[in-house]
Symmetry: C2
DNA sequence: GCCAGATACTTAACATGTTAAGTTTATGGA
DNA sequence: TCCATAAACTTAACATGTTAAGTATCTGGC
């Protein structure tokens, strides 16, 4: 007995060859290095993604922000008032189309971003060194491909 | 202006070259194919991971289950009573060491697992075809490496 | 045997993920 | 113009993620 449940043949590949599982595992392993660092600055992982997206791409509406951060618009609706209350972002209604809410980063938010970014880049560099530049590049390419070959997001209405 | 915030130089690599972000993005893209399928069987993504782990590796304690499923023991403590109430798993206190809770899958749970597994494997096969067997193999190897090179989980007490 | 510390788990509190329903504003055709 | 529909967002409800604190059990040194 090697530990498998009664050594019965399973109708499925081993868990360790589940691609979603390994993607999650790899991500969790990496985030363990970033999380304490974000925590020191009082930022959740999701709040950091929002600041980073806005710092990089400028102001945008909720849906675009959600796509870029991979955070559901409903979650953003709940998070953004807090970030706004802390003076890190701003929200305003679009003048052309009042259905849109335009989100942008404040000077205070950008300042925080710059500080956190500097330390994050050091962690990235360390990770890149351990994985290897060439292999990391291949990994990015394969992830891009996995994202490309997946079906488009379907609005099921 | 290409959309970048005032074309200012950022203190950080582009968001699309954030490894945690691309891992999340790839995972979300794949899960979009699995989620509706799990939903038809009334299973959350996390419940499915639990059943799969138990079907594959047999009974185990909360911490081992959490490690295998990448679900925090605190979340398991909350989830497992539901799965138990539905008759899909069983829990018992270890006789040797009463601190341990041993979790196992029931016949009913295994039957559900077998049904879902069959359909999941078809989705896997489709994904493997689109990514390519060789590239998928490389992807698994690189993910394994990323997991290996990350620091061990630290119990910060 | 006793007790301080460690271990395994649970509970609680709050943030986020997820889905469905509700609100406001735009749009396009009769 | 009017109205049905759609689009963008918000709100609500419940599940899960995350951290800290609490409870029960065990271990090892005395």
């Amino acid at each position: 007995m090697s530990g498998n449940a009664k050594d019965k043949k399973l109708a499925m590949r081993p868990f360790a060859r589940s691609l979603p599982m390994q993607l999650l595992r790899a991500r969790e392993a990496l985030m363990q290095e970033f999380r304490p660092h974000l925590r020191e600055h009082g930022l959740s992982e999701q709040q950091w993604r929002v600041l980073r997206a806005l710092a990089e791409a400028g102001s945008m509406d909720i849906n675009a922000l959600g796509e870029m951060c991979q955070i559901h618009p409903a979650s953003l609706s709940r998070m953004l008032p807090n970030l706004e209350g802390e003076g890190r972002i701003e929200r305003r209604t679009s003048r052309q189309d009042q259905r849109y809410v335009i989100v942008s980063i404040t000077a205070k938010g950008k300042s925080l971003f710059q500080r956190v970014a500097k330390e994050s880049e050091q962690i990235y560099a360390s990770i890149e060194q351990r994985i290897g530049s060439r292999e990391l590049k291949t990994l990015y390419e394969l992830l891009d491909k996995a994202i490309r070959v997946a079906p488009e997001q379907i609005e099921s209405n």
